[in-house]
């Protein structure tokens, strides 16, 4: 079951904040976040693990609510370089790092 991402798209001015949500119907082991710019490969941003451990980006933060199987990505003081499509990937325990990705959230940051 594909996780549900919201919103589908968001438009910001530089310096504004945004929150992207990812919700799964399954018990999760971890949530990964990736960003993809047009015509490029997705790049890793952050992993959030069951139990609270995080690995990732120092300018982007995220949370993982294990009870609700939800994760949120927080983009603060957005920069033009934040533009792109953000994907969450959800992993269940014992899944060999197999991820099920959401449909993506398109973020456009304007001057």
């Amino acid at each position: 079951q594909q996780p549900v991402q919201s919103p589908q798209a968001v438009i910001l001015r530089e310096g504004e904040d945004a929150v992207i949500n990812c919700s799964s119907s399954k018990a999760l082991y971890s949530v990964h976040w990736y960003r993809q710019k047009h015509g490029e490969a997705p790049i890793f941003l952050m992993i959030l693990l069951k139990g609270g451990e995080q690995k990732g980006h120092d300018k982007i933060s995220a949370s993982f609510n294990e009870k609700k199987q939800q994760s949120s990505l927080y983009l603060t003081a957005s920069q033009l370089s934040y533009s792109g499509t953000y994907f969450c990937g959800t992993e269940i325990a014992g899944g060999y790092n197999k991820l099920i990705f959401g449909a993506g959230t398109r973020l456009a940051v304007h001057p």
């Binding site: 490969a41 997705p42 994907f87 790092n97 197999k98 990705f101 449909a103």
Partner: protein, 115 residues
């Protein structure tokens, strides 16, 4: 830097042709993955492999097969290409160690058009 390369950026094939998409990674990763990416659907897993000669079906394996004869190389095969397989295909790789989770590194993608 981890590098994941894919054999072609763009490919045009005819319906019924056998198509091979190649992926090579240079970081000795155990896991390799094939996704297809379509607008509004995100990345959908076709197949993955956690070791040489080992493979597991993903969410949309129908019409595809894979081969992993060497650790660094993972091939996606379309036995008889159809127009509904026109898509962007992305390969990825990651470490695998026990139950720990690791980030996936993606290749640049192959845009396949089947006419």
């Amino acid at each position: 830097d981890v590098k994941v390369t894919q054999s072609s950026r763009y490919l045009v094939k005819r319906t019924g042709e056998k198509v091979f998409l190649e992926c090579v990674q240079d970081m000795d990763h155990e896991n390799m993955f094939w996704y297809r990416q379509d607008p509004g659907l995100g990345l959908r897993l076709i197949y993955f492999s956690y070791d040489v000669k080992m493979k597991e079906k993903g969410d949309i394996p129908e019409g595809y097969s894979v081969s992993r004869e060497k650790k660094e190389r993972f091939s996606l095969i379309l036995e008889s290409a159809s127009t509904n397989q026109t898509s962007m295909y992305l390969c990825a790789s990651s470490f695998h160690l026990g139950t720990r989770t690791y980030e996936q590194y993606f290749g640049p993608g192959t845009r396949l058009t089947v006419t």
